[in-house]
């Protein structure tokens, strides 16, 4: 580690932690319809949207209506993206005359962007037109993140409200999240990125004659605007095929800092938003502490692992240093690891180095971050509602230990709530282990593997973990663009998204209905170090026990075989 590595880490934590309390308060005000400094500008636009859509902004919805609205909106988004991708060959803004995507690829891509996953079985510059990038993918980058935020505030209201039948209005929550929550930040980030060198143009690809006289095609496009939302909305789908490793997508050490901090800027802030909902900032600090602890455990392990030279390359002719295969010179080891840990902790999935080439234990940290369900900050909205599920499970476990009815912030957890919690615990195992095992045991799908030995299994494990966790990053050597994987990974993404959203909204509805039990002396406090420890242990145990055998077959075996 060099001095610039420490400066980078310091700058990263400052950028994500310092603005969080203020930004979190801003999100609370926005989602509750209070005036902010943006209201003058965006208020008329917001009201115009409601008028055109026939939405009564003051009419709240029950959890069932809220869920139906969300599903209808996501379905409409899916149909739109699927159609645009299939028909892009006949549509304008396609200077490279790219053909429409084959149906299973279009299905996979559309599901991927609607579920905030951004798994990419395609390479952007070679198979998606400017129009598809803008109207199809960029839009879903915004509204899938807004959907996550809407579900989160519905759950917050469910916990905060007493004897209430409604959770808010999905249309209003989604619109406010997009217009106030995402657009202004994206505009700022997009311009910062252009300043650092990211293209933003509608001109055709440029033809160049290299210094040595060879022909070179320089791909361009409206990249900065899409890259800004793909980072801030925890989406992760690259404008260019190699994502933020591409020098046009992430040109400098500075653009790298802006992009990596943007991944968890909003997820960190939303933890404070929760504190405003339940009027108890101690709860926010406890959750942040739990998330940070998990982030630092994983981050420390990955940093150590990735600074080890690869013994397989040992030779007197070769410099023995931290591995560089799949890494960019301008980032080096520390910025690459920081990105890997952040993008998998949050459900972002963008990469600035190739995860397939990471040392085994660094790759395993990425896997574990996703396997625990994307709750270490996690996706916009999705991370915190996932974390709150873990909080409730920890509270339930604590209740079992002391033999009292578990309660969280005055809400008793009874049979229905616990059933819903258990349903969400099944999402990751079903998506990863059932679908992954199917892919690994059928000869056709397993042929997608590109690396021999234990790492080959890790490639499949990573793909199905990434899909189910709605992350979207990959051990990208996997040849995943086959009908089988496109459909199954698509299925994994749907299970991973709606397998959480439906129980979470049901839970929110059920909690909202409850009266508040007075917080007594015997209530288990959910803000001290004891609870934070219990929470971290719960997350690691639930995730760890489920996936330990799979991890042993993949990265652990590879680690041992390399003799690192």
């Amino acid at each position: 580690m060099h001095s610039y590595d420490y400066v980078l880490l310091l700058a990263f934590f400052a950028l994500v932690l310092l603005p969080a309390p203020l930004l979190g308060r801003f999100y609370f005000k926005v989602m509750e319809g209070q005036r902010t400094w943006l209201s003058t500008l965006l208020g008329p636009l917001e009201r115009g949207c409601y008028r055109l859509a026939g939405v009564d902004a003051n009419k709240e919805q029950s959890w069932q209506q809220y869920t139906l609205a969300l599903l209808a909106f996501n379905l409409a988004g899916f149909v739109l993206v699927f159609t645009v991708l299939q028909l892009q060959g006949y549509l304008p803004l396609n200077p490279q005359h790219l053909a429409g995507q084959e149906w299973s690829l279009a299905f996979n891509t559309a599901v991927s962007f609607v579920t905030n996953t951004n798994w990419q079985s395609y390479s952007g510059e070679a198979s998606v037109s400017y129009l598809s990038q803008m109207l199809g993918l960029t839009v879903q980058n915004f509204v899938s993140a807004a959907t996550g935020l809407a579900v989160l505030v519905a759950l917050c209201r469910g916990i905060a409200r007493r004897s209430a039948k409604t959770l808010g209005n999905f249309w209003v929550d989604m619109t406010r999240a997009t217009l106030y929550g995402l657009l202004p930040l994206c505009l700022v980030l997009a311009l910062l990125l252009v300043w650092q060198g990211v293209p933003q143009t509608f001109a055709d690809y440029v033809h160049a004659l290299t210094l040595q006289g060879a022909d070179q095609t320089i791909p361009l496009g409206p990249a900065a605007s899409q890259i800004a939302i793909k980072q801030l909305g925890t989406n992760g789908g690259g404008f260019f095929g190699v994502n933020s490793a591409h020098p046009f997508e992430n040109p400098t050490a500075w653009s790298n800092l802006f992009e990596v901090a943007s991944i968890i800027l909003i997820p960190v802030a939303l933890v404070f938003t929760f504190g405003h909902y339940v009027k108890d900032m101690r709860q926010s600090r406890a959750i942040i502490a739990g998330m940070l602890a998990l982030f630092l455990i994983g981050g420390g392990t990955a940093l150590w692992s990735e600074h080890q030279a690869n013994p397989a390359l040992s030779s007197p002719l070769v410099e023995q240093s931290a591995p560089l295969e799949g890494k960019e010179s301008r980032f080096g080891t520390t910025a690459s690891v920081l990105w890997t840990v952040t993008t998998t902790a949050a459900s972002n999935g963008s990469v600035n180095n190739m995860h397939d080439s990471l040392n085994p234990l660094s790759g395993m940290v990425a896997l574990v971050n996703m396997m625990v369900g994307e709750v270490i900050f996690g996706g916009v909205g999705a991370g915190l509602y996932g974390m709150l599920l873990n909080v409730l499970i920890a509270v339930f476990l604590a209740g079992l230990m002391i033999g009292r009815t578990p309660e969280y912030l005055g809400k008793k957890l009874q049979a229905r709530e616990v059933q819903l919690l258990v349903a969400t615990l099944l999402v990751m195992p079903v998506g990863v282990l059932v679908l992954g095992a199917l892919a690994a045991s059928l000869p056709g799908p397993a042929a997608a593997i590109s690396n021999p030995g234990a790492h080959g299994f890790s490639q499949l494990l990573y793909a199905y973990t990434s899909a189910s966790a709605n992350n979207g990053s990959a051990f990208a050597g996997l040849g995943a663009n086959t009908t089988f994987h496109n459909v199954m990974i698509g299925l994994g993404m749907l299970i991973g998204r709606f397998g959480y959203i439906l129980p979470v909204l049901a839970l929110a509805g059920s909690l909202a209905l409850k009266k508040s039990a007075p917080v007594g002396q015997n209530s288990f406090p959910t803000h001290g170090p004891l609870f934070v420890t219990l929470l971290v242990v719960t997350i690691l145990l639930v995730g760890g026990l489920t996936f330990l055998p799979a991890l042993a077959l993949g990265p652990v075996t590879e680690y041992l075989s390399l003799g690192l």
Binding site: L191, T217, V318
Partner: protein, 186 residues
């Protein structure tokens, strides 16, 4: 369900208009005025106005008279960019690294820097570490018949030291400067 159809369709269309069309257009408008050079791909042009590349995109350089770029798994293809995705345990990686090392190794200069033996994430990495440039310097100086000290000065001038990242040299910029200093004999 039917009550949700109108808002669902209208709002997806409205959001498409706002975030899919207006937003990228506004960013493009501001970017083209404020940062026209970067927004259009940081293109390098020669005296005749011919585009010779982008400062940010690596080019292939062959021959002793040029500083060679970071190796590229995609052979410097720009459409589409690609990486090797070789696992650390893949024997193909060790074979490739060791055979390139055997070609590049110069006894007097010690082991070959790893950056010259490994492919980057994008296949288009425009930079090299100063050590990887220094390793090539005696070869380039001899081929161009330039004093190594003069070349060393050029390298130092082309080295970037960002506060938060490793020092790097832009190989295309360095080679362009080199052509002005001492053109390679054609």
């Amino acid at each position: 369900m039917t009550t949700h159809i109108r808002p669902a369709l209208s709002l997806i269309l409205l959001m498409t208009l706002i975030t899919g069309a207006v937003y990228p257009l506004v960013v493009t408008g501001i970017a083209q005025v404020a940062f026209p050079d970067q927004a259009n791909g940081s293109l390098l042009r020669d005296g005749q106005g011919q585009v010779r590349g982008s400062q940010l995109i690596a080019q292939r350089f062959e021959g002793d008279a040029w500083f060679q770029s970071r190796p590229s798994a995609g052979d410097y293809a720009t459409v589409a960019s690609s990486a090797s995705n070789l696992a650390p345990s893949n024997p193909a990686l060790a074979e490739r690294v060791k055979s390139s090392a055997a070609q590049l190794y110069i006894e007097a200069q010690g082991p070959v820097p790893l950056a010259l033996l490994t492919t980057s994430g994008s296949g288009l990495d425009p930079h090299l570490s100063p050590a990887a440039v220094a390793y090539q310097l005696p070869r380039v100086a001899a081929a161009r018949k330039v004093a190594p000290e003069a070349l060393q000065l050029l390298v130092e001038q082309s080295t970037l030291h960002p506060l938060i990242g490793p020092p790097v040299v832009n190989v295309l910029a360095l080679n362009s400067a080199l052509e002005r200093l001492a053109p390679a004999s054609k």
